[in-house]
Amino acid sequence: MNASAFTLGRAVRLSILIFGAVIFLAPYVFMISTAGKAQSDIFSSSLSLIPQHWSYVANFTKALTRVSMTTLLWNGVVVCALIFVFQVMIAIPCAYAMAKLKFRAARLMMVLVMLGLLVPIHATALPLYVAFDRMAVLNSYFALVAPFTISVFGIFLFLQFFRAIPDDLIHAARLDGMSELGIIGRVIVPNAWPAITAFAIFSVVAHWNDLYWPLIVVSNQSYATPPLGLLYFRAAEAGDDYGALMAATLIITTPLVAAFLLAQKRFVEGITMTGLKG
């Protein structure tokens, strides 16, 4: 242990970091605190972090009973899983082709991907809504999932990762008798787990928390995703049972927090894209 390890500079750096962390964590901590407060506590003039009357049980019971929390969570899981599976199934072969195969439209494809990155969902929401309405598929998993199955961000992320995979590896696989799909399944995917994990976090977080699109295509509560469910919850409660609302929010955010903590190491690996060593 270095005696001079804890110098003044280090102390300053650490306190700045801690200050930043506190600022970012404060709303979440406050949410946890509010979820345990009774109505009178929440609207009292003094601001306290520790609830004066512990009403976690009451609030959580309300959150779990008044709205069908299991339906919400289940819908969230189904929608996120479907979106992620389709995104990966489409983005990986596409990125592989663009990174490692030679074909004429490769340049054009690259330009299209870049353009795709620039177009937000808000720009295409209206035409999509009209189309889904005509097809009579509003209020379905299809409407929630379909617009996101092709992720240009995913293609871009995998493209960058696949470019680092040596060409010789692909050549060896071809000589060993693999088809192009075989190469994707047996060589590319097993070596792309860091990238897939990173993409999973981006994709799942974005679509688990998405309120915009579900709000447009879903009006039937049985297809509501968690954020949409919270909206119904607020409306149903005339907007003032904040304790129960925070408890519901806590339930909904917990799966993501847990998943991130579990996959943290892989997530960071994927972001830094250490790539393959020969």
Partner: protein, 389 residues
């Protein structure tokens, strides 16, 4: 036992010709080393043979089968890559098993969960495991089978790559500088092993290298490629002693061959000091520029003799079994390299004047375009008519 033949292979990348019509045959079980400086197109040729690139023109025949339309996966050609290209997520055993799994199991038998339930799958898998173990034993890597490539040394990876290439008994074996990532000691050792493995497998082998010592020491025949053309294909000895082109002479041999610019005299002979070389009259015209070449070991160095060209020693390199002298000719200022045995080099020092006596029968004459001109050594006193007659 099949032979391989290439006819007029051409390839250019974005208008740049890389291969300018390469043709040759490799007999059954022949080991051919493809040697040349980097960028001469030898690796491209190998890739075309493997089916990883397509040629612009020309045909590849394996036995009497035309390989050109056959995709890489179905050519039954194995290749060892410079980077070894082992699958990083698989163990050594799994790496070696891949070509067998892809060939001996059906599509459904390869599936992860359903596969083992398919009829005959167990038997096939057991056979594959046995083949892998035998291969590993013959390469002495049985103790590494459970390791992943990241946990192995360069030499060990190279063996696994060899195993993966050989285990399926390919009909042609290609190697792209497989030894260039090994350290010098290991490289010399691995040469012998590869030759031995080749002998056992008995299939035509094409071995690409930029190391002429590797090519000369390993191959039955050496193909020298320079600038996208095959300049000479012959046994190592012929390549060295009887080069067909100035680039071949320049590329092969360490230290490099000595080359002197010269001109054909009016009588159709070429003179270098007191040595004269006769050329066949129909081959040259008087006054044409030619280049004379002589290998360093055919130059005798003497301190006292009267024969030979006067020169001065610039530098001496002692290499243990031999001595390399870097000299400069007094008359024309051209550098000359001579190779001596240590006994011959006793008493020589930098700056010393010496006489360099060239063995006339070891001189090569090259035309201006680079091809070799047949020449006869002449004693300066011999009448020229004996040559021309």
């Amino acid at each position: 036992m099949t032979s391989l033949s290439l006819r007029g292979i051409q390839k250019s990348f974005s208008g740049n010709p890389i291969l300018k019509g390469v043709s040759f045959d490799a007999g059954p079980g022949e080991f051919i080393a493809l040697v040349g400086p980097s960028g001469c197109g030898k690796s491209t040729l190998l890739r075309i043979l493997a089916g990883l690139e397509s040629a612009d023109a020309g045909e590849i025949m394996l036995g009497d089968r035309d390989l050109s339309p056959v995709p890489a996966a179905d050519r039954n050609i194995a290749m060892v890559f410079q980077s070894y290209a082992l699958y990083p997520h698989l163990t050594a055993a799994q790496n070696i098993a891949v070509p067998l799994v892809m060939r001996k199991l059906t599509r459904t038998q390869r599936l992860p969960v359903i596969g083992p339930l398919m009829p005959g799958q167990r038997k096939a898998v057991a056979a594959i495991k046995r083949d892998v173990r035998e291969m590993a034993a013959s390469l002495k890597i049985d103790h590494l089978l459970d390791r992943k490539p990241g946990q192995m040394s360069g030499g060990q990876r190279q063996r696994v790559a060899l195993g993966r290439a050989m285990v399926r008994r390919p009909s042609v074996f290609l190697m792209d500088e497989p030894l260039s990532n090994l350290d010098a000691n290991l490289r010399v050792h691995a040469r012998g092993e590869i030759v031995e493995l080749h002998r056992r497998a008995g299939v035509p082998t094409l071995y690409v290298t930029h190391d002429q010592a590797e090519a000369l020491s390993m191959a039955d025949r050496v193909a020298v490629m320079i600038g996208g053309s095959l300049l000479q294909l012959a046994s190592p000895q012929v390549i060295y002693d009887d080069p067909a082109h100035i680039e071949v002479a320049r590329f092969v041999g360490q230290p490099r061959i000595n080359l002197f610019p010269s001109q054909v005299g009016a009588d159709g002979t070429i003179a270098l000091g007191d040595i004269r070389v006769g050329l066949r009259r129909e081959m040259v015209v008087a006054g044409a520029s030619v280049t004379i070449g002589i290998r360093p070991e055919f130059i005798r160095v003497s301190r006292t003799g009267q024969q030979g060209l006067p020169a001065r020693i610039d530098r001496i390199e002692f290499l243990g079994s031999e001595i390399v002298l870097y000299c400069r000719l007094d008359a024309i200022g051209e550098p000359v390299v001579a190779k001596l045995s240590p006994a011959e080099g006793v008493g020589l020092a930098a700056g010393m004047p010496v006489r360099l006596d060239f063995s006339a029968d070891r001189l090569f004459v090259f035309a201006e375009k680079g091809h070799r001109l047949p020449s006869t050594p002449l004693d300066a006193t011999v009448m020229l008519e004996t040559v021309h007659g």
